[in-house]
Symmetry: C2
Subunit: 203 residues, 2 copies
DNA sequence: TTCTTTCTTGAGTGACTACTCAAGAAATGA
DNA sequence: TCATTTCTTGAGTAGTCACTCAAGAAAGAA
């Protein structure tokens, strides 16, 4: 059990940093979406040739799946989960989710909005699985929202007549709308005002 | 001034109904988006050959622009403008906009959501103008929202400290989020609940 | 009927798509 | 040193993309 966790690699070492390449691919997919980003665009941005890309990542679809996982580990992709985990009250969690979305989605240091929300909106039938994959991620997020609100009602934070399913749908709607607004040019100030209005719906 | 409004057309008459063809094209663009819909898909759905399509509509981009205008004259594309024009109070207008969006966006008789919101989300650089065109339409709608709310404040329907710009951004966010939710499978009942929660933000 | 006009048809265009592969280069192990 | 392994390179594949065009067909006008 004294196995080396990183045994010395045989053969020629890769000439590119896998994480840097993934970051470059993420930016492109985030900006343009899955189908509108060509493998030629990707190889140019990642600084590698097609053969290296296919050897390292499989095919375009596999690369995109890895990009989505990579995105989910960045602050932009993980803030909602972190808020649900770290905040003591449901209100604090959802207020934080909306406020952070308002600050992060229009941040000019990366493409606007959320990759999971916008990267596979327009796909041809051959890539329908990619669209379904992101939709599943969004809907599982919706269920996380609902579970947290259900707990809040059990704990008495929400009144007994509050509707966790409806509230979850409402907050998901606002978050997704804010992502779209950010892509349309809304500023952090704009989205901050939207957030405060949206929070008025809290029971 | 007794000119015939529709002078007899010379030459071979078109073998297809222009409006029916446009409706078929609208459905496809609405479902899949601009780039993910190929000219081959369009000719198949419209029941015509490429030559006829190009003769009748110009190129793909021109066809899409005509589709967007056509969409804007359908109930799904015109309900917001109608509500703003027909309702006496701003609250009635925005309540009607959200309630109609909740009923229309998931209606199974047509593709889910709003074409203007979702048909040009993912485009490659060569089609950036198409994306900009729809974004302009969305942003001009946002300004219509804001103008109506500004009037409401002047009329005393809204308190002096209400923020028309912020409210317009909020309602645009909710509408766009509802379109996305409908595409993700939300039902009319789901969106109706979202609507009633969203309206709680009204000052 | 014949001319003119307009539309349809089918076969095509070059450019781009995702993807592949043989050959060579650069590392380790023996 | 030499074999083995892994990665890179550049030239390539078949298929699809938006789009075109000459030839023929179908209408009105003369």
């Amino acid at each position: 059990m004294t196995e080396n966790p990183t045994p010395p690699r045989r053969g020629r070492p890769p000439a590119f940093d896998r994480d840097e390449a993934l970051t470059a691919a993420t930016r492109l997919f985030w900006e343009r979406g899955y189908e509108a980003t060509s493998v030629a665009d990707l190889t140019a941005a990642m600084g590698i040739r097609p053969g290296s890309l296919y050897a390292a990542f499989g095919d375009k679809k596999s690369l995109f799946e890895e990009v989505v996982r990579h995105y989910g580990r960045t602050p932009v992709g993980a803030f909602a989960g972190a808020a649900l985990r770290e905040e003591a009250s449901a209100y604090a969690a959802f207020a934080r989710i909306l406020r952070e979305a308002a600050a992060i989605y229009p941040d000019p240091s990366h493409p606007a909005g959320c990759l999971v929300i916008s990267a596979a909106t327009n796909v041809s039938p051959q890539d329908i699985e990619v669209q379904a994959h992101l939709r599943d991620l969004r809907n599982s997020n919706l269920r996380l929202f609902e579970a947290r609100l259900r707990t809040a009602r059990q704990d008495g934070e929400l009144p007994p007549d509050a509707d966790p399913h409806a509230l979850a749908g409402y907050f998901a709607t606002v978050v997704q709308g804010m992502s779209q607004q950010a892509r349309d040019g809304a500023t952090a100030a704009d989205l901050a005002r939207t957030t405060e209005l949206a929070l008025r719906a809290w029971p």
